[in-house]
């Protein structure tokens, strides 16, 4: 075996330039896949964390009859005394924060322009509201007792040509099916870095939102953030009771899960396409090597080397090419991924409805992904040696001995 690899190593060294470029082709393919893999993984990971942070939390408590799609404001669909419920949940050790939120649909009108919005009543002081307070781009943040101010997403404000301090009319659907209208001052503009979220969201203090929506002391949900995401299912089970439905972040982001599965499946197809192309380069290299070494194959065959061992010689060469190419590719791909993991790639408003995608995508590379890709690339490169190895093994010794003459 050692001799086999020694010969393979030296054979590859005969034409160093060709060997190098074959390895380079494989390296570029692997680097591209490492980057693509980390890009998709980063996008999915960020999208999930954004969804948890901005909208779903790790868990939500809702009444058993609450229908999220209808943004129901019927009293029987809302949680009564939400602060007390939230406080009870927040007392659990695994909970980082639990806060009530009220959702309503509305229209913001500014002069001749208007836009449909989602009105969210929040506790401005809750830690769960930190992404909004930290994302203020102008004006001032809300206070819990503010009765005439709102926060508007910067993207929406840009669309309506509004800025902090401007006045708008807000029309909000109420719990009894009417529409209420009140003037508000834009206290400030926020950016979560997620244009899809910022262009249709308006924040009010919870008490004001309850008042304008006629929800009295009720909330749509209790949003829960955990100290450890892995505790989600355990806490969901612990919070179960007939009056409530407990939703986990996975249940609340089904599109994200489907998109991730789809993206993973597409990545495998992409793997096969890219590695298939690099495999043709390896096949070409090894076929040329067979033709250049026909007489040597004849000599080895004359010494009694069986076809299987001649094949093994070419598999040894392709495995060395694979190790070299994959090592270079993983190094290059990891470098690029590490750079993008730190600085991100600006993509702006990607605009996929139902999925939170930030303005920047940061790659996320795991050892598992690298190992999976390396094994796949290794196997495909080895498989690419089958044809040249069979050509070599099937050479008749007599013809092979004369082949180099």
């Amino acid at each position: 075996m050692i001799q086999l690899y020694k010969m393979a190593w030296r054979d590859l060294g005969r034409n160093r330039r060709r060997t190098f470029f074959s390895m380079l082709a494989l390296a570029f393919g692997v680097a591209l896949l490492v980057f693509m893999d980390s890009f998709i993984a980063g996008e999915m990971r960020d999208a999930l964390q954004l969804a948890i942070k901005l909208q779903s939390g790790h868990l939500q408590v809702r009444t058993a009859t609450y229908n999220e799609d209808k943004t129901s404001l019927k009293w029987e669909d809302l949680i009564e005394n939400p602060d007390a419920v939230a406080a009870r949940i927040a007392a659990r050790p695994e909970v980082q924060v639990a806060t009530p939120r009220l959702y309503a649909t509305g229209i913001v009108v500014a002069g001749d322009t208007s836009a449909g919005v989602r009105v969210v009543g929040i506790d401005p002081d809750s830690a769960a509201s930190a992404p909004f307070s930290e994302g203020m781009t102008s004006g001032s943040y809300l206070t819990a007792d503010d009765r005439g101010g709102l926060l508007m997403g910067r993207t929406l404000a840009d669309k309506l040509k509004l800025s902090s301090g401007d006045k708008v009319n807000l029309l909000v659907n109420t719990s009894n099916g009417d529409v209420d209208q009140q003037p508000f001052v834009i206290r400030g503009l926020f950016s979560t870095g997620t244009p899809g979220y910022d262009q249709n969201t308006i924040f009010l203090p919870l008490s004001k939102a309850q008042a304008i929506a006629r929800a009295d002391n009720r909330a749509s949900i209790i949003l829960i953030l955990l100290k450890d995401q892995d505790q989600t299912d355990a806490l969901a089970a612990a919070l179960q009771e007939p009056a409530y439905q407990i939703k986990t972040y996975n249940q609340m982001n089904p599109l994200l899960n489907e998109f991730e599965q789809y993206a993973n499946a597409m990545m495998y197809v992409f793997y096969l396409i890219v590695l298939g192309i690099t495999a043709t380069v390896i096949v070409n290299t090894l076929v040329m090597s067979v033709f250049e070494r026909t007489r040597e194959i004849g000599i080895l065959s004359a010494m009694g080397m069986r076809g299987g061992r001649i094949m093994a010689m070419f598999f040894a060469e392709s495995s060395l090419l694979a190790v070299g190419g994959i090592t270079m590719g993983v190094a290059l791909g990891s470098l690029i991924s590490a750079f993008v993991q730190r600085y991100g790639i600006f993509i702006g408003d990607f605009g996929v409805t139902g999925i939170f995608i930030g303005e920047r995508i940061y790659t996320y590379l795991t050892l598992k992904d690298i190992i999976t890709l390396a094994i796949m690339a290794f196997v495909i490169t080895l498989l690419s040696a089958i044809y040249p190895a069979m050509v070599a093994a099937r050479l008749e010794p007599v013809e092979a001995l004369h082949g180099g003459k």
């Binding site: 001799q3 020694k6 010969m7 030296r10 054979d11 060294g13 005969r14 007489r295 040597e296 000599i299 080895l300 065959s301 004359a302 010494m303 009694g304 080397m305 069986r306 076809g307 299987g308 061992r309 010794p397 007599v398 001995l401 180099g404 003459k405």
Partner: protein, 222 residues
């Protein structure tokens, strides 16, 4: 004791629609320890007969026996197994593996025969001494002269203690001095070790070394 025997062997090559009869029914036997020359003009069938004796090729008709076993209809791998360790080859061109040193080239048939590292080292060193190449052990073929390469090829052929060494025009690409040196070494090893040598040649200076001469003409023993 008989090492190899052919009985009424024929070999027909078909190229396109043209059939060429290289051997037309040859019968002969080679005994252990012989130092035999196959002579004859180009196209007389010397190389074809050596290839049949060496299990590199199969006869169209007749039978070939090596150490008593009929090898005429063995498949590719069975013929490889028969060659390995039993038959050594020396070719007209200096048939060394260019990426391996003289030492590694001689060691190769021992590796194929699964000898232990100690056995391999001892045998290779012994053969390097025998062919006067001890100082060239770690040189690659492109760092050696034609004569040195052919001596290494002789050493490689002898490495696994074969029953017979078949040499096809072993001196054809060598100058007189190197040719004689190679033949001297082959003669000495034949005498010292008793290994059987059959070599094809049409060089009168080489034929004189043979103790038995088989002359071929137009595919038959003349």
């Amino acid at each position: 004791m008989e090492v190899t025997r052919v009985e009424n062997v024929t070999r027909v090559f078909t190229i396109g629609k043209v059939e060429t009869q290289a051997l037309r029914g040859i019968s002969l036997s080679i005994e252990e320890g012989e130092f035999t020359a196959l002579v004859g003009p180009s196209g007389s069938g010397k190389t074809t007969l050596l290839q049949l004796l060496g299990c590199l090729d199969q006869p169209t008709g007749g039978q070939v026996f090596v150490k008593g076993q009929d090898v005429s209809r063995l498949n590719r791998n069975q013929r490889a197994d028969m060659r390995r360790g039993t038959i050594g080859f020396v070719f007209q061109f200096f048939a060394l593996i260019p990426t391996l040193t003289a030492y590694e080239n001689i060691e190769m048939p021992l590796l194929l025969n699964k000898h232990t590292p100690t056995e391999r080292r001892d045998r290779v060193m012994q053969l390097l001494e025998a062919v006067d190449l001890a100082d060239r052990a770690h040189h690659r073929p492109d760092q050696m002269s034609g004569g040195e390469q052919q001596r290494a090829a002789v050493a490689r052929a002898l490495a696994p203690h074969p029953a017979i060494v078949l040499a096809d025009e072993p001196t054809a690409n060598l100058d007189t001095a190197n040719g004689e040196q190679v033949m001297d070494i082959m003669t000495r090893l034949n005498q010292e070790t008793g290994v059987t040598f059959v070599f094809a040649t049409h060089d009168p200076r080489v034929i004189k070394y043979a103790r038995r001469v088989i002359t071929l003409r137009d595919g038959i023993v003349a």
